[in-house]
Symmetry: C3
């Protein structure tokens, strides 16, 4: 998404990873659609919405339109590519659960950071920029679940959105108060988000329930 | 919706048909609301959302705000008119299923074209303009189904959105590569969409399911 | 929300009441989330969406972005404050049903008026400004119910949105055709909305159902 702006060379890594995140999110949409026995079209829509829903919501709230995936055809292509990929490799996708978990988490981490950057770029209060980071990372999954008529997963399970928020906080602190190269801030943030998620699953962390 | 721009005379036909499409979509919303035993207010809201949901989503994604039905009071009036109409003619509406199918399909075809035109006007990539056409035609029905707590129909049945996409493709090709008067491109597109829909129902075409 | 514009002194009362409305709406979100056994994060999101969903929808439809709660950190703070408040006073909140009904109704009345004012400020047709008032007051609750996988309450029960619409009409008439100080128009409108709601519950008024 940041392709629109003049970018330093290392950002092309983010761009590539952002596209991978989009691709992986699309696959997660396709999996739920398959479980719900949707047809190919419905599945494609769910894949699309899962992949771009977060960034789109962020852009609409901020007022940055046309929304980003409309300005860079690479995103729609990454999503459409997920369909044949999933159909061809479906046997492996089921088995590669762990691999996808890693990619999915990387995707979330990336979307958190790029979403937060966009928020800061639009002069939002830092805490709201963090919220925009979390929105970018999680809303796609929420809309996916609503389209499939389920209570959104993130409201029920796992330290998921919380990991995004903490990652966003780390990124903001590093960015504002350290003299680290943004490259490193970036790597640290991604590591924090991935670590929290892995630990939370390993040790069955969960937030207390409302009662 | 295109009333805002300077229009050739034949476009007033589109405008009229667009209003009819809005009216027919509103009725489809009222029918589902009645099935769900909503009260008059809830039914009106569902009618409204069904009729304008697609165009509104398109406008928000593109960044064309205030959204179009807010700039032309004729649209809200067409929707509100559907309520007494439905109450008075309810016996016929049930029997006139076939008539409404035709109108509904015309509505979808019209919304596809006007949505796509708006996308092109905002300099979107042609493939994204086609998606905007499909969004204009189908999202209203999706929101209607979500409000009524059902898995959106278009994810489950019928070559429906696919017809819109194919129609949009035909329209684009005619518009870009033929010297046809847009009047004719328009008629051909509508015919294509209607034909696909009728044939798909007659011969029980459906897209393969994800598994 | 109107803080952005130059305000007469009495408006700070509206601003305060608007924040209270936000706070009370957040609590209503927390209550439903608790019933659905969501975790603290999910509950916070539902609270947020319930409180700002209406105003956000209005701002997006009108094209007033970044949406208002992003421009005034007091709104997010009012929402977050609802969480510890609800946890500490949960025993009382259940018993104070009547108190909360009053606050909730005041919140709706306030959101109706401020939403309508914003619509008029953006030169919408008065009838559409009224719709924007109703949208501001009711959409938050609708999204709350969708997130919790229920058919939105306002489609099923109570003269609720209707009270908003009638209140908006009264406010508009007073504003356009009387020489009353807007302070009084305001009080009268709030009283009308509250009265309709109380009477409708007391006498079991409801709109006829669609059939």
């Amino acid at each position: 998404m940041e392709r629109l702006f003049c970018l330093p060379a290392w950002m092309s890594l983010i761009y590539t990873l952002d596209l991978i995140g989009t691709f992986v999110f699309a696959i997660s949409g396709l999996r739920l659609a398959a479980k719900k026995e949707m047809d190919l079209f419905g599945a494609t829509v769910v894949a699309f919405v899962t992949a771009v829903g977060g960034g789109t919501t962020r852009d609409i709230l901020i007022g940055s339109t046309p929304v980003s995936w409309m300005q860079d055809i690479a995103y729609p292509i990454a999503i459409l590519a997920a369909l044949p990929f999933t159909l061809v490799f479906k046997k492996y996708i089921v088995n590669l659960k762990r691999t996808f978990f890693i990619f999915d988490t990387i995707g979330i981490a990336l979307f958190t950071i790029s979403g937060m950057q966009k928020g800061l770029m639009f002069d939002l209060h830092p805490s709201l920029a963090m919220v925009m980071g979390m929105v970018s990372a999680t809303v796609g999954g929420v809309i996916r679940d609503i389209l499939c008529n389920e209570i959104p997963l993130i409201f029920r399970k796992e330290i998921y959105a919380t990991a995004c928020l903490l990652g966003a906080l780390v990124y903001y602190l590093l960015d504002a108060y350290s003299s680290l190269n943004s490259n490193y801030s970036y790597l640290i943030t991604v590591s924090v988000i991935i670590s929290i998620r892995i630990l939370s699953i390993k040790f069955h962390w969960s937030l207390p329930k409302m009662k």
